[in-house]
């Protein structure tokens, strides 16, 4: 059982996701939510890095935050799983602890 890491700020605006990727152990779950969801989209300048991360970590993105921002859940980077708030709860329950990177 490993941790769930949550990231809520945009990776275009802050370095939180970078720090998280450096300090999360391989196999950990990571959830992008709030402004961080842009990081899960195909076609962005960081999509390749995110696709690579999806091979090391169990990467998730919060669907309601995608929808609010007009981002299409069908166009997330391959390997990233879309979850709702109930899925967020499940991820937290399945983890050994939850670490917020804001």
């Amino acid at each position: 059982m490993s941790q769930l890491h949550t990231v809520s700020k945009s990776p275009f605006e802050r370095t939180n996701l970078q720090s998280c990727l450096k300090l999360a152990t391989p196999g950990s779950a990571i959830l992008l939510y709030e402004d961080a969801v842009i990081g899960a989209m195909q076609g962005t300048s960081m999509a390749d890095a995110v696709a690579a991360a999806a091979k090391t970590f169990s990467l998730h993105v919060l669907g309601p935050d995608l929808a609010a921002r007009g981002l299409d859940a069908a166009k997330v980077v391959p390997g990233v799983k879309v979850v709702d708030y109930a899925g967020f709860v499940d991820l937290a329950a399945e983890a050994s602890a939850v670490q917020a990177w804001c």
Binding site: S8, P64, Y85, A93, A97, V98, C102
Partner: protein, 119 residues
Amino acid sequence: MKFAVLVNEGPFNHQASDSAYQFVKAALSKGHQIFRVFFYYDGVYNASKLSEPPTDDRNVVANWGKLAEEHKLDLVVCVAAALRRGIKDENLAAGFRISGLGQLIEAGIQADRLVTFGD
């Protein structure tokens, strides 16, 4: 499972309190228990009963209060953080109580998971 939730940002300026509220609702729907919701840093502003958002938008403070009433949630505002920021009994919204940081540590010990929202 027993969850504790920590909210670190005020209402409106950041989405953190909204996300925490949605998380708590989802956890309750799934039959989990919410041991306590603790408000720290600017999160204490979520407990201001004077908050009056536009009527066509959500009311974060009132939403927490209603949820607390329906599910007997323990909403605790940190006394030290609150004093600094001007949240006291006289402007404390219904459903919240003011107490010490020990309540957060106790939540960390008692709950199976502590989930933090906001910086």
